[in-house]
Symmetry: C2
């Protein structure tokens, strides 16, 4: 890249980060483009050079968040240990991203605001990753007989999405402690033997 | 009440219902007071006679929703059967309200939008009811040893809140089937004996 291209890439990244901050704090509708360009340290004109509308900025935030959540799901899918442990670890990594990474947090929350998103919604991406890991666990013979992988996937997805929403009024909901409590509850039902023998752990890695 | 007072009560109720529709569809920020008064069939002046601001309308929606969720929790707390079954049934009733009652749905969703609400948030009210029922179950000796009532309460609350959010893009998440699947997963962990002997059921009553 030429120095000019590099500058453009950095400007674009700063705009996406500023937009994520604004969407996370005020929601899509109330977020102001002027405030976004100001906090990114660029002119309104530069903003419109990179993004033709607030919708385009929101799509860029969702795409950046999707890349991070997709990477997390890919690492989990490629993990060599038991798939159930990879799922527990991935959920902790996701909750940590929701706590610490404003792009991921805003991306998750935009899913509900934008009626026609051009990228897959973040919860859908997470759901697909969870279904894949539980299917792998089933093939490993690691799921307790009678447990439906579909029921388990829905519970894991809904709990993370629910904790994210509840954390807007009490951030404790996105602590690793709350998530570990969920796994203490669920793991013995999913895979009784390995939990009792200490092969699986509920906490953040 | 005089006929004039009765009319005022009905006007107020219509405004709360119209506001709930608008908040549910567009969110608090984007909802328009003019559209709300028009769909309630009253003048802008009448709206401002009853509610001094959009915030005041939102508080009224939250209070109306809180009354319905509070009633549901009270019925569950006073139930004579096993507390765990009362909890399963209450969760199905709440999910049905979220599906069918726009005031409850809007009330739940406003919780995240209003930074300083004067009424307890709906999820908090639901959390309190769930904690009470699980505590009753513990006193009945119905909870499996080693299960933390706090972990179980957090999971039940987060799952319902999560399903509500996920239903904005796919309404299947608020079906009684998804919730029954969650209970099929969780109940054998909470109370193995009564589930095996068929004393507890996972579906909607």
């Amino acid at each position: 890249m030429t120095p000019k291209q590099e500058r453009a890439v950095r400007t674009r990244e700063r705009l996406v980060a500023s937009a994520a901050e604004a969407f996370d704090r005020h929601g899509f509708t109330a977020a102001s483009l002027t405030a976004i360009s100001r906090s990114a340290g660029v002119s309104n004109g530069a903003l419109h050079f990179h993004f033709e509308s607030k919708e385009a900025l929101a799509v860029a935030v969702e795409a950046a968040a999707a890349a991070r959540v997709g990477a997390l799901a890919e690492v989990a899918a490629g993990s060599e240990g038991p798939a159930i442990q990879a799922l527990v670890d991935a959920s902790h990594r996701l909750v940590r991203l929701l706590r610490e990474d404003v792009v991921v947090r805003a991306g998750f929350r935009l899913g509900g605001d934008l009626s026609a998103s051009v990228v897959d919604s973040l919860p859908l991406l997470w759901h697909r990753g969870v279904v894949g890991l539980l299917d792998k666990a089933r093939r490993e013979g690691a799921l307790t007989a009678g447990v439906s992988p579909g029921d388990a996937a829905a519970a894991v997805v809904a709990v993370v999405v629910g904790c994210d929403v509840l954390a807007r009024t009490d951030e404790e909901w996105l602590s690793s402690g709350v998530l570990a409590g969920f796994w203490r509850l669920l793991l013995p039902r999913l895979a009784a033997g390995p939990v009792e023998s200490g092969q699986l752990t509920c906490g953040a890695a």
